[in-house]
Amino acid sequence: MVSGSSMLESAAPRFLPRERFDDLLAALAAGGRRVVGPTIADGAIVFDDISTSTALPTGWTLETSPGRARLERLPDGPGQDRSFQYTVSGEGIKRFTFPSRVDALTMETAEDGTVRVLVEAPPAPDALAIVGARACDLAALAVHDRVLVAGPAVDPDYAARRRDLLIVAVECGLASSTCFCASMGTGPEVTTGADLVLNELDDGFVVRATTAAGEGVLAAIGGLVAADADRTEVAAAQTSAARAAMGTTAVPANPRDLLLANLDHPRWDAVAERCIACANCTLVCPTCFCTGLEVKSGFDAAASSATRAWDSCFTEGFAQIAGGSFRPRHRDRYRQWLTHKFATWWDQFGTSGCIGCGRCVAWCPVGIDVRAELGAIAETAIPTVDSGPIPGLAPEPPASPEPSAETSIDPLAFSPATVVSVTPETADTTTLRLATDDARILAGRPGQFVMVGVPAFAIPPISISRFHPDGIELTIRAAGAATSFLTRLRRGATLGLRGPLGRGWPVADAAGRDVVIVAGGIGLAPLRPVIDAVLAERDRYHDVRIYLGARTPRDRLFVDEIDALAARDDVLVRVTVDRAGPEWLGRVGIVTQLFKTVRGTGADATAFICGPERMMSATADVLGDLGVPRQHLWLTLERHMECGVGLCGHCQLGTRFVCKDGPVFSLAELGDDLRREGL
């Protein structure tokens, strides 16, 4: 660290003559550091390795407008030899800090038959210098820092790549029609995140060091003199002109409240008429961080490797679960993307997800402009109401009395488990009893889940259906390739578990109250530990009522256990099926019909509900009509999950990540989001 006085002294801007730019590149490359910067390839400006200034897009600019980005020659005259006379490249610097594909883990079956899930070690910190990042790029990097390393879960690959990054920023001296960083408060001035900041002039650069590392680079170049006042004034004037060209009102004030109050605005349908869901906007967006795991294996399925790859909320499979997609329409996907960027990002991360670079505008093949879409919604908006402090900025105490469990979980660490017994439950559902000595898993709570890894298959999230002192049970329905394989495992097989994940059922919320448990189909599996917990301390609860729905009598789970429960005089059990033959003498009909035969459920009850979302919604309605308070109506949501810790982005529901904020929520927490289509 330099002392305060020398810092002041050294902070004075220097002048880097254009002919000495290669000295800057050489200084950056000292010690084997890799240097990337803007260059021209395939008719576009891209970031790639550069060793001399000849690689720079000198004499070129990039004209952008909605749906258009074209390289153009700079006009003859002063400034025709500038190298950074454009605004944003098509792709930012994201591919160096958050590459589109990285090795994530390997899964293999050892010779003794045990399965190991090995997390790839993060890459050795790759000494890297990036030249030519803009204020918006740095703002995007700060957003990624918040999302990927500020916790609770940390992306080890990103953290490693980020650790030793040297950044030479260029302050924009012009603005494109697609730029709106000034409206988002992220530019064009470079105020943070860079080691060196350049302002390009016709004959060279005003350069200032903003960190000790940046100062070290200037020292290594050597012989630089202080920039004279004329040059620093021109530099400042250029930046001011860029700011003035953009204006600061490209997006409506408080887009968060605007969008959250207008989730049903007709504009979503209008934009869906044009949006082709190509995902280009998410690919060029420097803050988009959603990823999926791609698993590859040989035919023998003995080993496989998984790659973490960029994914997009515009793809059809992004919100897919076994029962279907939560966002089947383009309208749903566009709304998800725009509301995430401008609204729910605030709730999740305390910052905007849009930094105003305008790449999504330029690279949208049909020219959809987020500024125009926001403006159109604002023009005919439902007035926003004061929604109170943004949770990300002013954290509210958790609504659940149960603490969240995600802290200190390594997002990728798997531990081995062995199948000690297999119990077929129905034609497509099997319970595996697993032995594990993973203390964290054994200390899990009802409603939590684990990610289950076996070689050659995707890694599904599975709810824990029972806890034992030496292991857990997983009740799995064969819904796809991975779950089908898991239901066919035999005694002695091993697999990898990661967890326990998510916020469980707040069983303590029911202490001293009536307990109502409502399960549909496989939804009984995550509620079974609640039943276990309640019965283990039966005296703590008043009436206990269990209502179960299944598709047919043959699809009922844990039949013997449920029959035994029904025989107890301190638990009421009601079972119904959706359809049955004449041999079934029990009830037929949807599960909500069970409530009409029972009196006494009301304000003193805490309800735990799990099943298809429509069934839960109908159940919550009926229980609400009976007087069960919304804050005591708990249900668990199913969403697509690739990571389980809030890093992959798939399981978003409005302001929440279902994996880490849930999967258990109260109806009071979910509000209207439970029944809003396409969210």
Binding site: R477, A479, A481, G521, R551, R587, T592, P612, R614
Partner: protein, 170 residues
Amino acid sequence: MPSARRTGSSAAQDPDRPGSTAAVPIIAALPAGPRRRLAAVMTRVEVEAGETFMHEGDVTKVLSIIVRGRVALRLRVPERGAVTILTLDPGDIVGWSAIVPPYRATTSAAALEPTELASFQAEELRAILATDAEVAAAFLPAVLETVAARVAATRDQLLDLFRGAEVDPW
């Protein structure tokens, strides 16, 4: 219902007497006038477990309110036999088609356990509803509520929410 055993003639109006309207859901909740006039034509019927007392497609001769027991509504599917699509519990109406043209049963009805019904003869009930506006105004909403709830429940069943996966995300 030839084999059903009638347990009493017209129900009494004394709420303390066994078999009075006080024990009959829906009817017990009606205002005094309509309750009295309906009770005068109501009979108590016991149905044995396993007995089918209404047949899909037949003219519905009786509208009943279940007082005790459980009733299965069934449809006949030639390839699958009788399929139970709904079971009814005390308080439910069975045979609403007795008062809705074309007065044909939309399902069969069978008692799953010993069941007690409070029943109205179709033609008698229709005559009262056509002439006694006070009874109609009190009773028909309850019937409509039953039919509406059954339509809603049937729609949910139609969705087959617990069916296995159609797609393959994992």
